[in-house]
Subunit: 345 residues, 2 copies
């Protein structure tokens, strides 16, 4: 028992899911100090910010923490697809008084790279987790050489076997109910994505490394249920979204507290990769999944001005309101308290 606690040197088998865009070091610090594993999302941080955020964590706690990175292959910009995407969005630009000509394709999120690995060699976080598979063998080896335990998400049995073969220390089985980006990397066929109830036991039956359950877990009973399915711990994201240590926007918070939160969908509109969020106008009218959306992360740049303008008018109709299917655990309590509640501590 307590396999995860031993592996990661933590007190409680609760990993706070890294959530790029809605949290920084503050949430990670609170969770790690409470005995769980706090996570810093690195996907949207430049090198300097990454270093600052990690330094901030290390100045506040000596407990282990996790730094998370995306490891997609950045696509080439497809001019035709970009044009089609902008055409599709033009009525919204017009409605919000934006000039479609002024919106340029941007680079968006960058994947894990050599430079980031160098930072990790310096700062030596206890845990590094990846989304969308793993970096190259060389880069992965470099991360291992820091002494960090490596985690990554699997959304199918095939992905779990792939990760195990490449030496991860534990696998996060991400059920279809999870909020934010699907971690899938071997196939883009959404029908392959399974629920936590179906996925966890199937992965547990096939791999030897410890399995962490993610998706739909929002209470101490949910944690116990995930353990019953064979998980050694859980990764929880959505439940933390209302904690004061997050940077969740007022619009996002209001949506999470409303009945709207009962309707989420997996959509590719905001970034080009499937991710679960609360259904809003953009999803209703163009999605949830549009073949016109440019590949990850390129779809985001054409959405950004719509989102900014709408949010300035207190509207979340063009914002990625990431959330899982079970928002019943969202509470306006300190992250430390929520962590202890989830662990039944």
């Amino acid at each position: 028992m307590e396999i995860l606690e031993k592996l990661l040197d933590i007190e409680l088998p609760i990993i706070q899911a890294p959530m790029a865009g809605v949290q920084g070091s503050e949430l990670a610090i609170a969770v790690s100090r409470a005995g769980g594993l706090g996570s810093l999302p690195g996907a949207m941080l430049g090198i300097d910010s990454l270093r600052q955020e990690i330094t901030a964590i290390q100045s506040q706690t000596t407990q282990p923490f996790n730094v998370n990175f995306f490891c997609h292959s950045p696509p080439a910009i497809d001019a035709e697809r970009e044009t089609r995407w902008r055409e599709l969005l033009t009525p919204y630009y017009r409605e919000l008084g934006l000039d479609p000509q002024s919106i340029l394709p941007g680079p968006g999120r960058s994947p894990f790279n050599e430079q980031i690995a160098d930072v990790l060699l310096d700062v030596k976080p206890a845990v590094v987790s990846f989304h969308f598979g793993l970096p190259t063998t060389e880069l992965t080896a470099k991360v291992k050489s820091t002494g960090a335990k490596i985690l990554s998400s699997a959304t199918t049995v095939a992905e779990a076997l792939w990760l195990e073969a490449r030496g991860v220390d534990a696998i996060i089985a991400q059920g279809i109910e999870a909020g934010g980006h699907r971690g899938s990397f071997l196939s883009d066929d959404l029908s392959l994505q399974m629920s936590t109830f179906a996925l966890v036991p199937q992965i547990v039956a096939r791999v030897k490394v410890p399995v962490i359950a993610a998706g739909g877990i929002a209470s101490v009973d949910g944690v116990a249920a995930a353990m019953k399915l064979g998980a050694v711990g859980v990764q929880v994201g959505t439940a933390y979204l209302l904690c004061p240590e997050t940077t969740t926007s007022a619009i996002h918070r209001a949506a999470l507290r409303s009945a709207q939160a009962q309707h989420t969908a997996i959509t590719n509109l905001f970034t080009g990769r499937p991710a679960r969020g609360i259904v809003n106008r953009l999803i209703r009218e163009l999605g949830p999944v549009s073949p016109a959306a440019p590949l990850f992360p390129l779809a985001a740049s054409a959405i950004a001005p719509l989102r900014a303008k709408a949010e300035s008018q207190a509207s979340g109709e063009y914002s990625p309101l990431w959330a899982g299917q079970n928002t019943t655990g969202c509470k306006e309590v300190a992250a430390a308290e929520l962590t202890r509640q989830l662990a039944g501590d």
Copy 2:
């Protein structure tokens, strides 16, 4: 505790899911005799067969059993849609050497009606469950007057509240991972469908009637996990599909035993209503969800000859290979043994 056992007068909190097309009285008898609640699917039975099957159960056991019915509103035949549907299927008719002109639109499954209610008044099953909501108020009252406990499936919180307001004795919370037809009836928006992990606690939090979990439950640990989420019992279908008491076809059995079973999808191709089955050629090429498929149950008649011809050639590429996302519980053991295993008995 043991709320479900008391409510339904059963020993084990295990309901065998009614599975039209792959089982009759034999499976229901075995499960009820083992102390669970066996179910007879009535959806595809004529009045005489229904009566015979119920008589068969009552001659073999005095234990409670469940009879299940669909309660959809039969749609009018839309000639244009039927034509479009047949056009879409024509390449397959050609490939299999079938004459598209010989295939007529048929009536398909009929919903619960007055005549069936009369049979129930006679035979008085202990439990009657419905899929796709409930029959009219009058018909529902008539079923209640037989003394039967009434169950129905909810796939959203809204559906659970709807069913509770209409007096069901318990609600089956059907997670998105469940095999066969979605029980949804208030909306056809598939993005509203939630996983067992997300759905069960949300329904439990909102209704006073007992909640039964369905979807992805395939082992004694799965049952325990569902109970942790607040369910008082479970409804299990997929795990029973290989039991000798089922009529699951050899083709369907082979698919369930193969790696193919790891890839299921919710499809409307076979009947017109969304249902989860193992992905085969028809689903890959036309679906999983096609707007051309006629409304339930009309889509089935144009598929029937393709299915029959392909199955005669040992192919399941046009068959509804219903299965949930978690087939790890499928075992070639007697249904009584499986029932006891699920209950940890």
